[in-house]
């Protein structure tokens, strides 16, 4: 599969996404510069983690205005696959591709730890080879990962089967319903706070991330 990893100024998980999808998973992976208007035929677009534009205003708030985002939104709207990880998830909610918002962790601190994720739906392309209730061991590393959505929105997420991952056991950041990742109604856009690209090899502690990197 052709995988395009978008690099914003301040992205810092771009190399990891390229490494794990490319060198480890053997997809045809390549970077896409934030000023590019061409996705180079990528079938999967990854918006990687980091601190795009320093995240000084609000996480993901500036990146959504990047020239490349116009193309990413068009790609998503025509059914193309988009995966937003960490800062990428924040960019997806800011740009309206996914509902809700990501707020400061309830601990008021950066949370870096390995967590267990339970798979909540298998209807997305990312999770279709897994079973509901499967547990994935994947690290988180974020300061603003508390997923928030109002009750009406939450009901809608549930009724449309849009909750993809939940934290199992302790909720590390105070997310509503312990939500760690959601998809859009169509299931082609996935946003998640945990980093599957960091769990791609057993030597690093887990290779569970490969299961959702197609």
């Amino acid at each position: 599969m052709k995988v395009g990893v978008v690099i914003f100024p301040g992205s810092n998980c771009d190399m990891d996404a390229l490494w794990t999808t490319g060198a480890v998973k053997h997809h045809e992976s390549f970077p896409i510069w934030h000023q590019s208007q061409d996705l180079n035929g990528a079938e999967l677009i990854i918006l990687p983690g980091g601190f795009s534009y320093g995240d000084y205003l609000r996480t993901g708030a500036i990146a959504k205005f990047s020239p490349v985002m116009e193309k990413v939104i068009a790609h998503a709207n025509s059914g193309g696959l988009v995966l937003g990880i960490c800062n990428g998830f924040q960019i997806l909610t800011e740009s309206g591709l996914l509902p809700g918002a990501l707020l400061r962790n309830d601990t008021l601190k950066f949370e870096s730890r390995w967590v267990e994720l339970s798979v909540e739906t298998t209807r997305t392309k990312f999770t279709k080879n897994l079973s509901k209730g499967d547990v994935l061991n994947i690290p988180i590393a974020h300061g603003d990962g508390r997923y928030y959505i109002d009750n009406i929105g939450l009901d809608s997420l549930i009724s449309h089967d849009q909750i993809v991952f939940r934290y199992k056991g302790r909720n590390p950041n105070g997310s509503v319903h312990a939500i760690a990742g959601i998809c859009n109604r169509e299931g082609n856009v996935l946003g998640m706070m945990p980093h599957p690209e960091r769990a791609g090899e057993d030597v690093l502690g887990s290779s569970d991330g490969l299961k959702i990197l197609l």
């Binding site: 100024p9 301040g10 810092n12 998980c13 190399m15 990891d16 490494w19 794990t20 980091g50 601190f51 534009y53 320093g54 995240d55 000084y56 601190k109 950066f110 949370e111 870096s112 730890r113 390995w114 690290p139 590393a141 300061g143 980093h195 690209e197 960091r198 791609g200 090899e201 030597v203 690093l204 502690g205």
Partner: protein
């Protein structure tokens, strides 16, 4: 430009003798700007004038050393065409008065030192020393420093391997914030900070120059006092986002071979970076103040030359490369400007509005800076070692002692700190922060690197020479236990005021002790930093030489520090002696440091290293950790609490009292587990290498039990160990 006066010289921290020396050298009275430039280059921070004589003793050569001390960071060969480039330095004073920004800019500065050399930074580590966290001032400093490290490091995208966190009352007011960074470069990508060809162009890239941090280097070369608070403006403000762009831009410039030399702007800003680059290549340099991009209007030449604005780099390139360099900077949305030219005349020439405003022969500022032989006087160490009146070594109630140690601030888990650091970024982390070294892989090879920081301030306080030796031995032992062979070290020497002969004695003896152990173990020093004047109105810090040791191993051939399997046999390697002096136990019971600290037995350390590396090579070790603070008791607590597995121990009568068997801090020991069928093989390896081995018990059960002494449920111990620091930091408020 007006003439500089003695009053100016004093304000800049120069002595009368130094002021006269400058006049003699220049054969004139320097003007105000020239005097300011002399003062920062001759500050302790930049010139190492009080320490150079002693630092010469460090062994700096070795087969793997590509670049020793003197550059921005040291370089060692790690095989397969790759090198590790690393350095540790201090950011103590800025962190004492502005903890968040002080620590953040420390992290930014050390990362720049590494990518300046052409390396991609892949790991940070931060040895921290604070006063006891029961005091709200210490808590607020620790809270701010950890937030600063986390805020900057996580954003700039360099994962963290943890590092020491040590509490002692002597660090109240004057905490120590040491920062370390390691990068990886292919041999041909290494760049040095040298200007070596007249006519080459000098470009300033990155952030604009503002009025922040003026005279930071001078501020770092004085004792903290009530007035220090007013010097908050000498602390700079960091922008990790800008630094991230600067890393990518600089590495791209190097990859495309567009630059001849690179130097970051740290202490003393444009002055030291330009002078040092020219000095290393025996060149001169002309700088045009008007060409420097500035943050504020009407900045004077003095302000521009001394500003310590962060996230700036100086690059030297051929005239026909200027355009290509600017294009890459523009791509990364950064500014660049041609600010000068390399000359053959050996002079630093500063031009403002078309006029020369400073001319100084560069050797006076670099090689020719003063170098002092300092007065030393042995402090009354016997007095320090004397037991407090009425003190009795406890000989009962071990359950309480062990629980108290597990929940003590020096004994409990550091997870509160580590969870704030990104540890998994860059997909290299094999073992995140834990009891032992941080371990990363080097992509494209089967090499693993282990990084461990260590310090023995209590030992150095009671016996500076022995403490220096112990610091090195302990760091090495940590690497051997994990299965790694040490390659090289970087050191950060934190002490009080060097003009106090007793402090200088501590400094000199600690360094000589380090040198002794480094020579015996064949480990070179490749970079380092000295931080003097770590004092507050209530006195100097305990002597705190910090060492960060880097070792190498092959993938697969390494050990984890904590217990792995129920049923494994727990053995103690090395001999336990009656050595409670200076122990964590004594400090925990009295709040004081006293007694005669443990002996250094280098031969026993070497034997232990052979045993550990041989057994690791054969794959028979299930876990291994060195014994240090808190002795056997603390090592057991850590292994139990980190694994969640119990341990059933029986201590045989050995002629050593049970309190000493548990809490003695004898060197040259390690706690190892093996499967039952490997015990005999390990015993043979120990016999071959003359390492003492004692079988202590087995892993398993729901308690940590030492027959006849204590039996503590794992859950209870874990609760104490895991939550002690978190509770005081998160629940007591600031």
């Amino acid at each position: 430009m007006r003439e500089g006066t003695f009053q100016d010289a004093q304000n800049f921290g120069l002595t009368k003798v130094e002021f006269e020396d400058i006049k003699t050298r220049l054969e004139k009275t320097p003007n105000f700007l020239e005097l300011a430039i002399f003062s920062v280059m001759w500050s302790e921070h930049c010139s190492y004038k009080s320490s150079r004589m002693v630092l010469k003793n460090f062994p700096t050569q070795g087969p793997a050393v590509i670049q020793g001390p003197g550059e921005n960071a040291g370089v060692v060969d790690i095989g397969d065409g790759y090198t590790a480039i690393f350095k540790v330095e201090s950011h103590n004073h800025p962190s004492a008065i502005e903890p968040y920004q002080g620590a953040a800019t420390g992290v930014g500065g050390i990362i720049r030192d590494v990518f300046t050399m052409g390396a991609r930074p892949i790991l940070s580590l931060d040895p921290l020393f604070f006063g006891h966290p029961n005091d709200p001032h210490n808590r607020s400093l620790l809270e701010g420093v950890v937030a600063g490290i986390s805020g900057y490091g996580n954003c700039v995208g360099v994962p963290n391997a943890g590092g020491e966190l040590h509490f002692d009352k002597s660090y109240t007011i004057n905490p120590l914030v040491n920062v370390f960074c390691l990068g990886i470069a292919k041999k041909e990508e290494i760049r040095y900070a040298r200007a070596s060809e007249p006519g080459d162009i000098v470009m300033l890239i990155g952030a604009r120059t503002g009025r922040d941090g003026i005279h930071g280097a001078t501020f770092a070369s004085d004792v903290l006092s009530k007035e220090s608070e007013e010097k908050r403006s000498a602390v700079q403000v960091g922008d990790p986002f800008l630094e991230k762009l600067l890393i990518e831009a600089t590495l791209e410039l190097i990859e495309k071979d567009l630059v001849e030399g690179v130097q970051d702007l740290g202490a003393a800003g444009l002055t030291s970076s330009s002078v040092e680059m020219a000095g290393r290549g025996d060149m001169g340099l002309v700088l045009n103040i008007d060409a420097v991009p500035k943050r504020a209007e009407n900045m004077t030449a003095y302000e521009v030359m001394l500003s310590e604005s962060q996230e700036r780099m100086l690059v030297i390139c051929k005239p026909d490369r200027v355009e290509s360099v600017s294009q890459i900077l523009t791509k990364w949305e950064l500014e660049s400007a041609v600010v000068g030219e390399v000359t053959a005349d050996g002079l630093l020439t500063v031009i403002e509005k078309g006029e020369i405003v400073a001319t100084i022969p560069i050797p006076h500022l670099t090689k020719g800076a003063p170098c002092y032989k300092m007065e030393t006087s042995r402090p009354n160490l016997e007095e320090r070692r004397r037991e407090p009146h009425g003190f009795q070594v406890p000989s009962w109630d071990y359950a309480n002692l062990v629980k108290k140690m597990a929940s003590s601030f020096n004994g409990c888990s550091r997870e509160w700190v580590w969870h704030q650091y990104d540890t998994t970024l860059l997909t290299n982390t094999v073992i995140p922060p834990s009891l032992g070294p941080g371990i990363v892989r080097v992509k494209g090879t089967d090499t693993l690197l282990a990084i461990k920081s260590d310090a023995k301030p209590r030992h150095c306080y009671l016996n500076p020479f022995g403490g220096g030796q112990a610091t090195i031995c302990e760091a090495a032992r940590n690497l051997w236990a994990a299965g790694f062979t040490p390659l090289a070290v970087s050191d950060c020497l934190n002490f009080g005021n060097p003009t106090n002969p007793e402090i200088y004695y501590e400094f000199e003896q600690s360094v000589l002790g380090m040198c002794d152990a480094l020579r015996a173990l064949n480990i070179p020093v490749i970079s380092g930093n000295v931080s003097f004047y770590n004092e507050s109105p209530s006195g100097a810090i305990k002597p705190t030489p910090v060492v960060v040791m880097v070792g190498k191993a092959r993938a697969g051939k390494i050990n984890k520090p904590d217990f792995q399997n129920t049923g494994d046999v727990i053995v103690l390697l090395g001999e336990t002696l009656s050595e409670l002096g200076g122990s964590a136990l004594f400090e925990m019971l009295t709040g004081e440091t006293f007694g005669t600290p443990p002996m250094i037995r280098i031969n026993a350390e070497v034997s232990l290293s052979k045993t550990l590396l041989a057994a690791t090579g054969e794959g028979i070790i299930r876990s291994a950790t060195d014994l240090s603070e808190g002795g056997l008791a603390q090592a057991l607590v850590e292994c139990v609490c980190n694994s969640g597995l119990g341990a059933q121990i029986a201590l045989k009568a050995t002629g050593i009292h049970i309190t000493e068997q548990l809490f003695s801090e004898s060197n040259a020991r390690a706690l190892v587990t093996v499967s039952p069928d490997c015990v005999s093989r390990l015993t043979e390896i120990c016999a071959q290498n003359e390492t003492q081995i004692r079988i202590l018990g087995v892993v398993g059960g729901r308690t940590l039990s030492v027959t006849g002494s204590f039996d503590i449920p794992v859950q209870e111990l874990k609760e104490l160990y895991d939550n002690s620091l978190r509770k005081v930091m998160d629940e007591q408020g600031l």
